[in-house]
Structures are given as C-alpha cells and as structure tokens.
Amino acid sequence: MRIEVNSERVYCYTNSRDIDRNKPSVMFIHGSGMDHTVWTLASRHFARHGNNVVSVDLPGHGRSTGDPLVTVEEMASWVIAVLDALDIADAALVGHSLGSLIALECAASYSERVRAIALVGTTSPMPVSDAILNAAEADDHAAFDMLTQWGFSKRHQFGGNRNSGIWMIGNTLRLYERSAPGVLFHDMRACNEYTSGTDQAAKVTCPALLILGAEDRLTPVRSTRALQEAIPSTMVEVLPGAGHTIMVEAPNAMLDALHRVL
C-alpha cells in the first residue's frame, strides 16, 4: 500500500489487505539501512492472526521517497503521521534496532497512540562506533560489512538458517547495498545521538517487551540493564544463539515472544 505523508510517498506492506478499523493494528519498523522485507514472516503471521499489519519503509528507505529523517524524535513524529494517514487510532509498535528507538519514543511521547511496544535488538543509549559512522558517512562499503558481520552472532557467521536456502549474511548485505547513499549514515547518527531513551523509557505506560539476542554484539544484553530498569513492568525475552539480526537469526522464537504483547 502506498500513502502520502508530508508530501512524500510512503510504502507500507499490509499483506495486500486494506486497513480494517475493527481489527487491532501492528506496525513494524525496520532498522538502519533496511526496509520492510526484514519483517515479512512476522507481518504475514500477525496478519493471519487477525491484525492490520503495517510494515513501513522509513523515508528514503526501500520504496518510500524523501530524504531520510535526521532524529529519532522526527521519525517518531513521522510514524504517528503514518498512523493518521491510515486512520489508525492506536497500534502496537514492533521495532528493530533504530526502529526500536522509534517505537520507544512513540510510546513515551504519543502514549495514547501506542497500545504496546516490542523492542527487538535494542538498547539505550545506542552508541555507534566512530569506525561505522565514518565509513557510513563516506558511503564506504566497509560500513555494510561491519554491520553485517557484527550484526550476526558468531555462530551465524556460517549460516544455519532455518529459512531454507537463504544465506542470511548475503541477503542482509544486499539489503544494505540497496540503500541509497547517505541513508545508513543518517540512520546510524540518529541512533548515536538519541541519548534521551532511558528518560523517555520511564514515561512508557503500555506493555513493553524487549526481545534480545543472547549473542548480540551490537546491542549486547548487558547494555540493556538501564533500559530494562527504566521501563515500568517491562518483559524481557533473551533468545539463545541469536545476535542482533533477530528477525533472521531466530524468526520462530521471535514470533513466539511477540505473542506476549501482540
């Protein structure tokens, strides 16, 4: 489905269905340099389970036009604008990495529009190394390589995908390579500069679930303590064997975990 927000075209994957106001809605928000396809399995699942699913491409990503947004706060405002455009009163937000920060900011600043959040591969603050930022700013392929390699657990450097025939390292790298110049840098900088996450987390009133990869090297479990403590009554699922790219590395376990809040 294509809609218009802020005079730019926005692509939303909806499982080829129209939005039904009588159904609960779930919005999926991808991470840095990615697009909606990282959520294909999950969005198909929750569509079949009676939800409106809206898996967005952030501005400048995938099939959405426009320049990439600069801050997490801007992205959260944009998410609410997408809900407005779709006439969705409230939604559960599932975000990965950068997307998780956007979901968190939405839950804190627009609490009436968010009925639950699931933060996948998350932490806050989410500092990004100078090596990645510099490479991303230079549109150097090394940024894709670093994120691809460190985005998977060590064991998954060799694959072992339960989704038959897909080399998950290769597919992730191709997604980064498809991103327009500058997009990854904008995304990574937004992650790096979103330092108010822990304060914002304290404002969250809806059910919140953290889905973490036990072997995540970009947002390690140990780094999430402050976030866990800041969100009132948060739930945490740590998935064994998974790194940061949880939708790909542990798709079934992630689905099962998401059912706790969706």
Binding site: S16, T37, T40, H45, D145, F158, N161, N252
Partner: protein, 436 residues
C-alpha cells in the same frame, strides 16, 4: 577503509550452512531422509504453509540436509540464496521457468554443454521459448541478438568444447543495458576458480555432479541467486513483480526483496515441477565441497603438467587450454581465471577417427566415460561417442575434429597419467599407420 574480514573460501567450504545437529550434537551434517516433517500444532502448520515461520514441510520443497548445501553454495558464490535440484539440467530449467513463459526468448552462447543445448534448441521451443545462439567471444553478438521478448542471457564460464572464456563483465554489461540478467553455468570452474557474481553475473547454475562433488557418485544441480538484479526496475519479469495467484497474490519482489527470484523458484518451480534433490545426494555433495580448494588446486596442477606433456608430442596437433600460447582467450583467462582454467580440455590427435578410438581404448588409468569433474581422470572421444551422429563437416563447425580427445584430469599421480597417455599415443600411432 577496510571492514572486517568475512570467513574465507576454505572455511566456508567446510562450515557454511552447517551447525552441530541440535538434536544429537552430530558434527557432520546428518542425512534427514524423511519425506515430511511433523507439525507441533495446527497453527504452527498453518504458519509454515503461509511463509510465517522458518521450517520444513515436505522434502520436495525443502529439507534440512539440502538446506545446508544450499546455504553453503550461496555463501561460496556470494549470493543471497540457492536451491538444490535433481541435476544441473533441472537447475537450468528451474531458472528459465521462474523468469519467463511462452513467447519469451533467450540469448545463449553457442558453446554449451550438449544437454543445455538440447533443452534450449529443441525442447523449450515446443513450449514457446526460443533461443538465439551466438559466438561466446563476441559481446556485441549478444547485444545484437537481444529482442523485446528476451528475458535471459546465458553462457558457460568455460565454453564447451573449446574452453571459450566467457567475458562475464562485458556480457553482463550488455545484458544489464537491456534490463536482463546474465546467468552462467560455472560447473567446470566452481567458486574456487571464478566468482561470477563479483564479475557481474546475476544467476549461477552448477552441475554439482562434477567438481563440486568430485567423487562422481551423485547427480545434482544448484541454482544460485546473487540478489543483485533489480527485477522491478527492469519491468520485464511479472512472475517476480506482480501478484502470483498461485500463492494468494504474493508479490515476490515486495515481500522478499533481493531474494525474490530464488524464493519464487522454490515456491513455484520446485513445488510444481518437483525436480528436487534427494537428501542423501545433498549429503554426498557436501562431503565433496569440504575439500573443494584442495582438489581444484590439484586438478589444475595436474592439468598444467599434462598439457605441457601433450604439447611436446609430435602426434598432438593442438592442445586447447586457455592458459597456453595460441589459445584465443589467453589474455582474458589470465584476468578472470588467475587460479587456473579448470581440468577439462581437449586436444587433437593426428590420424583422425581411428587414432582417436585406438588412443581411448589403450588407456587404463583414464576411465572411458561420459562425465567430467571426477577425482579420477576421464577420457572420451567425441567423434565416436557424444557427437557420433555428426559428419566431419558438422564436427568441424562445433570445433571438434575426428581425432579430438577430451580429458578430465583427476587427482592421480601425474607420472601415472603421463605413462597412461603414452600407452594411448603408441596405440594411436599404430592405428594411424605410423611406427611410434
């Protein structure tokens, strides 16, 4: 700026796609010899059928042993995914029927394996898919043959039988300028000798029966998708970019992005045509791939030794190996195939058909059979076997003489191979009326 290193080819050849078996801890990839797989509950079953979960339903569609092989070849080639098929021919067919239907057209190199040529020249026209064959050494010929209804450009990394080196970068440029993907058959080269995706190819086909396995005990094929071709931008591939009624109007480019082609091939082509690989075959091919680099290196070393020997023989009038002086693709081979040009080549014997037959019959270490890529050395005399229906003129048009011999050099001690070839040359000399 350098990023972190990915695992190297040798490491991927041993590990990619595999984890210790979660059920038993088995280090080797087990053979999951099961037609189907149990569902824990009905919702789980529904989610597998609806592409919501990762897992296996039925071994025609996917199998845990095959999945390891598929990931391994995708990793070795640098693609996004792969499908294991019943044979190399099945892989070629699967690619074609995924990308096009009746009324479509293919531009292919004229220097193809006979089985591929048969499919394209004789069988597919019956189903409305035509092919124009062009000189593999002439990228402009590929460009000139492209029509509005062309949907694929196809060639072999090393053409049959003259080892024409496919100029992948130049032909990929031609294909991409026309909004078309380039598919290459890399059976004789394997990822050890060439990485076609890095040179611009979009799809790779392997007969895994050959060098990937090395043991000559299975028939199997592999289809690999680079994930680099933009099917939507091309606008010529409605099977990938428009709703598919056979799967609830799924649009593959929308849902699978870079993996659209390989997912459609599995969800439709493998499902409906059914040319899947047996899991035991996948297991055997995995054993072969573990030693790919070691074997290919030895194959090439032995081939260089044998070609050097043959060049010194008076009865040998031509040795067709791209590394040698006089081969028209020597410069291109040095650029694209620095690790070697494989281990299959042909040479011409003086004395014609009789000499060729006598030569083959006198060999004892070389096995006389119709295959390539075995660990054992193989020989065939095309004029009396694979091309026996052709007269001298037709053979010549295909680059084959009546005294042409094709060798697939194995891993034996090269001195034993040379001794065997000497036996053959003596017999050929007698048959030709000489006294050598």
């Amino acid at each position: 700026m350098a990023g972190p290193d990915y695992p190297g080819l040798d490491t991927l050849a041993l590990h990619a796609g595999a984890q210790p078996d979660p059920a038993t801890g088995a280090r080797a990839t087990p053979i999951y010899q099961s037609a189907s797989f149990c569902f824990p509950d009905s919702d789980y079953a529904a989610s597998l059928f609806n592409i919501e979960r990762a897992g296996h339903v039925y071994s025609r569609l996917s199998n845990p042993t095959n999945a390891v092989l598929e990931e391994r070849i995708a990793a070795l080639e640098g693609g996004v995914g792969a499908i294991a098929t019943a044979s190399g021919q099945a892989a070629l067919h699967l690619a074609i029927i995924t990308l096009m239907g009746a009324g479509s057209h293919i531009v292919a190199s004229a220097a193809l394996y006979g089985g591929s040529h048969n499919l394209l020249a004789y069988t597919l026209p019956r189903f409305g898919i035509e092919t124009t064959f062009v000189d593999p050494r002439d990228p402009q010929a590929f460009a000139n043959a492209i029509r509005d209804n062309t949907r694929l450009v196809f060639g072999e990394t090393l053409g049959n039988p003259s080892l024409d080196v496919l100029n992948i970068p130049a032909i990929a440029e031609v294909a991409h300028a026309a909004g078309l993907p380039l598919m290459v058959d890399s059976t004789t080269t394997t990822p050890y000798l060439i990485k076609p995706f890095e040179l611009g190819a979009d799809i790779i086909q392997h007969s895994a029966t050959k060098f990937l396995s090395g043991h000559g005990i299975v028939i199997g094929g592999l289809l690999v998708d680079s994930g680099q071709f933009d099917w939507e931008a091309s606008g010529k591939f409605p099977t990938l970019s428009e709703p598919y009624e056979g799967f609830h109007n799924l649009i593959f480019t929308e849902e699978f992005g870079p993996a659209a082609m390989i997912q459609r091939a599995r969800k439709e082509g493998l499902r409906d045509f059914g040319a899947c690989m047996a899991p035991t075959s996948a297991f055997h091919i995995l054993q072969g791939i573990e030693t790919l680099s070691v074997r290919m290196n030895r194959h090439v070393e032995n081939t260089r030794t044998i070609t050097a020997f043959l060049l010194e023989q008076e009865q040998v009038t031509r040795v067709g190996y791209p590394e040698l002086d006089g081969h028209p693709d020597q410069t291109l081979a040095r650029a694209l195939l620095p690790n070697g040009c494989g281990a299959v080549f042909s040479f011409d014997l003086a004395g014609g058909r009789e000499a060729g037959i006598a030569f083959v019959d006198a060999l004892s270490v070389f096995s006389h059979l119709a295959n390539i890529g075995d660990a054992k050395s193989l020989v065939i005399h095309p004029a009396s076997t694979t091309h026996h229906r052709m007269d001298a003129e037709a053979l010549a048009a295909g680059g084959i003489g009546e005294g042409t011999i094709r060798l697939s050099i194995g891993l034996e001690d090269p001195k034993d191979l040379i001794a065997d070839l000497k036996q053959g040359l003596r017999a050929a000399g007698k048959a030709a009326g000489g006294s050598r």
